[in-house]
C-alpha cells in the first residue's frame, strides 16, 4: 500500500517549500564541502555522503515534534543538520578537531546530541535498530508522547537484529518508526542481488507491523507519509515500517569507485528525480520565489557551509589529555 504520491505543490505554502528547499540545499552543499575537504586530506577515514537522499530526512523531520528521538547509521551528517545540530560542530568533528560535537573523538560516524535527541551515528550496520526500539521503550516507560525515528538502509534491512527488534517492538507496542532508506545499493550490492523480497515496507507484516512505501525523492510525499506513521505511533498502535525509496548520487563512501552501476543510471536520476530541483520547480511555478530569491538563498547557504569549513579547519586538534577522558563517567 504505497502512499499515494502527493500532487506536487498542492496545498503547500511558499514558506514551507522555502524551508524544505533551504534545508535540503544546506545538506547538499555541506556534503559537497565535506567531499572537498576529504579530497584535501582534512577529513580522514570513512566519510559517507547523503547527496541525493536529502528529501528523506527533511521530509521526516517535518513530521516530527519536539521531544521525538532519532538515530541512524554512519551516513549521518544530514540527520544532524536536519534536526538542527550546529553545522560548525558537525564539520569540526569530520576534521577531528576539539570543537567537533564529540570533541574530535567520534568522527564522521559517531556524533550525538542529548538536546536534539539525536542518538548517533552508528558504525555497525543495523546496530542502531534495536537501540532505536529501546529509545521508544524509554519514551513509553516515561509516559511520553514521543516517537523514535529509527533510520537504516536497505542493506541493514537484511540483518537479523532488525527482525528481533520488529518482534519486540510489535509485542510491546513501542512507538518506533522503522525508516528504511532504500537507496538501492548496500555498498556495491544492488538490492536485487541482496534482498529476497525487494518491498521492505512489507517486512514487518509477519510481525503484524503496518508499513508503507513512499517516493523518497519527493519531500512533500515523505512528509505526508511520515505524518501518517507518526500518527500511528502516537495513537499507541505500536511500530510502523516506512520504506523511503531514494537514491544516493555519490559512492558508498569516499573510496568507492562505483563500478556496480552506470554513469547513465546516476545521471538519469539526477536529471529527472532530483529532490531539490523538484522543490525549486514548485517554488518558481507557484511564484513563491523569484530567480533572485533562490540565488540569495544559495548564497546564504554557501556562506554557512564555507563558515563551517573554515571553523572546522581552524579548530585545533584535541588536547592530548583528551585521550584518557570520557572512558568512564
Amino acid at each position: 500500500m504505497a502512499a499515494k504520491k502527493k500532487k506536487a505543490g498542492s496545498n503547500v505554502s511558499g514558506d514551507e517549500l522555502l524551508k524544505y528547499y533551504r534545508e535540503m540545499l544546506l545538506i547538499r552543499r555541506f556534503e559537497e564541502k565535506a567531499g572537498q575537504l576529504y579530497g584535501m586530506g582534512q577529513i580522514g577515514g570513512f566519510c559517507h555522503l547523503y547527496i541525493g537522499q536529502e528529501a528523506v530526512v527533511v521530509g521526516l523531520e517535518a513530521a516530527a515534534k519536539e521531544g521525538d528521538s532519532r538515530l541512524t547509521s554512519y551516513r549521518d551528517h544530514a540527520h544532524m543538520l536536519a534536526c538542527g545540530m550546529d553545522p560548525n560542530g558537525v564539520m569540526a568533528e569530520l576534521t577531528g578537531r576539539r570543537d567537533g560535537l564529540s570533541k574530535g573523538k567520534g568522527g564522521s560516524m559517531h556524533m550525538f546530541s542529548k538536546e536534539k535527541r539525536f542518538y548517533g551515528g552508528h558504525g555497525i550496520v543495523a546496530a542502531q535498530v534495536p537501540i532505536g526500539a529501546g529509545l521508544a521503550l524509554a519514551n513509553q516507560y516515561k509516559g511520553e508522547d514521543t516517537v523514535s525515528f529509527t533510520y537504516f538502509g536497505d542493506g541493514a534491512a537484511n540483518q537479523g537484529q532488525v527482525y528481533e527488534s520488529f518482534n519486540m517492538a510489535a509485542l510491546w507496542k513501542l512507538p518506533v518508526i522503522f525508516v528504511v532508506e532504500n537507496n538501492q545499493y548496500a555498498m556495491g550490492t544492488s538490492l536485487q542481488r541482496a534482498a529476497s523480497t525487494p518491498d521492505f515496507y512489507t517486512r514487518g507484516e509477519a510481525f503484524g507491523i503496518a508499513g508503507a512505501a513512499v517516493d523518497g525523492m519527493d519531500v512533500l510525499a515523505v512528509k505526508t507519509a511520515g505524518e501518517m506513521a507518526v500518527a500511528h505511533c502516537r495513537a499507541g498502535k505500536g511500530p510502523y515500517v516506512l520504506e523511503v525509496k531514494t537514491y544516493r548520487y555519490r559512492g558508498h563512501s569516499m573510496s568507492d569507485p562505483a563500478k556496480y552501476r552506470t554513469r547513465e543510471e546516476v545521471q538519469k536520476v539526477k536529471d529527472n528525480q532530483d529532490p531539490i530541483d523538484m522543490v525549486k520547480e514548485m517554488l518558481t511555478q507557484g511564484k513563491h520565489a523569484s530567480a533572485e530569491d533562490l540565488k540569495a538563498i544559495d548564497k546564504e547557504i554557501k556562506k554557512i557551509v564555507q563558515a563551517s569549513a573554515d571553523f572546522a579547519v581552524a579548530s585545533p586538534e584535541p588536547d592530548v589529555s583528551e585521550l584518557y577522558t570520557d572512558i568512564l563517567v
Binding site: G120, V129, P130, I131, G134, A136, N139, Y141, K142, I327
Partner: protein, 450 residues
Amino acid sequence: MAIQILMPALSPTMEEGTLAKWLVKEGDTVESGQVMAEIETDKATMEFEAIDEGVVGKLLVAEGSENVAVNTPIAVLLEEGEDADSAIVAPVAAPAEVTTEVAVSAPAEVKTEIVMEDVPEGTTFTPTTVREALRDAMAEEMRENENVFLMGEEVAEYEGAYKVSQGLLDEFGSKRVIDTPITEHGFAGIAVGAAFGGLNPIVEFMTFNFAMQAMDQIINSAAKTLYMSGGQMGAPMVFRGPNGAASRVGAQHSQCYAAWYAHIPGLKVVMPYSAADAKGLLKSAIRDPNPVIFLENEMLYGRTFDVPDIEDFTVPIGKAKVWREGEDVTLVSFGIGMQYALEAADKLAEEGISAEVIDLRSIRPIDYDTVLDSVKKTNRCVTIEEGFPVASIGNHLSAVIMERAFDYLDAPVINCTGKDVPMPYAANLEKLSLITTAEVIDAVKSVTYR
C-alpha cells in the same frame, strides 16, 4: 525383585533437595508415568514420576524432609508377591558418582581469620544465599529508583531460569520486570537504547554464554558511546547473569568470560564470590553511571554466606578484599576461583605455609595496589581462575607484578587456570579441565620451593 526409588537429580547442579510431598502412600499401586512426589530443588518444585510399575512397599523418607542427597533411596516399589520388609534388606545400590564430587566440594569453611573490612564493629549478620542476595540488591535499588528495571529471558513470570528474580514481578509489575523473547542481540540493543533514553536497565542473560550473541551491542554500543560522544551520553546499565562452568553442561555452556570483558575500555567488570559482595557490588553496579558486566556463577547461587545487616549495604567497585592474611605467599583469585584459593590456604596452613588470600571482586578496574602490597610482603604469588589460560586475568597480573614489583619477587608468578580445551562433557574429563585445589597447592609449593 523390589525396586529402589532414589532421590532424583532434577537440575545439572542439584546435589540435594527437599521431599516436599508424597502423592502416593504405602500399599498404592502405581503405574509408570504416575506422579509420586513433589521435590523442591534450589530452583523449583518439580513433580517426580514413577518409571516402573508396582506397589509402593515402603516410603523411606518422610515428606517435608530437607537436604535429601541425590541418589538416597526414598521408597521401595514391590513386584507381585514381595513384601516390604524383605525388600528393604535387599542391597542398596551404591550411589553412582554424583555431582557433589564432580563439581564443587563442600563450601569453604568460613574461618575466623577472615578480614571483614568496611563493616562496623558490632554488626550482625544474616546467612543468605548468593541467589537471595542478588535478588535483594535488585529489589532495593528498584525501590529507590523508578528508572531501574529488569529485562531478560524468563525473568518475570518464571522468576528467573535460576530463580534469581524471585518475587520481583509481584512487587514491581510487568512494566519493570520484563520477559523478553529469546533474542539476546535484540534485547541487549533495546536495553542500550533505553539507557541512552534515560533509564537504568538491568539485563539478565540466562547465562553469559548467550551474551556472545549480543557482543556487538555490549562492546560497540554500550561501552564506547561515552567516548565517541565526547562525554555527552553513555549507557548506565548492568548486564548480569551466570558465567563460567556449571556442571556437565558441555562446551557451549561452560566458559568464563572475565578476560573477554576485562579487555574493553568503557566497561566495568565485576565478579563476586560471596553473597555479601554479590549484594553490595550489584547495588553499586546498578547505581554506576557506566555499563557494568556483572558475572555471577551458577555453582555459587545456592551457597550461603553471612550478609551484614546494614541498611543500604554497598561494596565499592574496584576494591579487592583480603579474605585472610598470610606471610609466605599471595593467592589472588575472584569468583568461584576463591573456593580453591581458600581451600588451598586452609590445607597449606596445616603444613605450616601461611597464604594471604585476595579476592579481586572487580576485574575492571583491578585493585592493583592491594595485590602489589601483598606481593611486596610475601614475595610470591599464585593466581587462580577458572577461565582459559591464554590472555587470562592471571597473565595480566603477572605482567603488572613483574613491571611494578620485580625486585620483590623470590619466584616466578604462577597462573592456575582452567585447561586450554573446550569443556568436555564426560565427568572425569570435565573434572580434569577445571582447576583444582591440589593444583593450587602444588603451585604454592613450587613458588615457595617446598
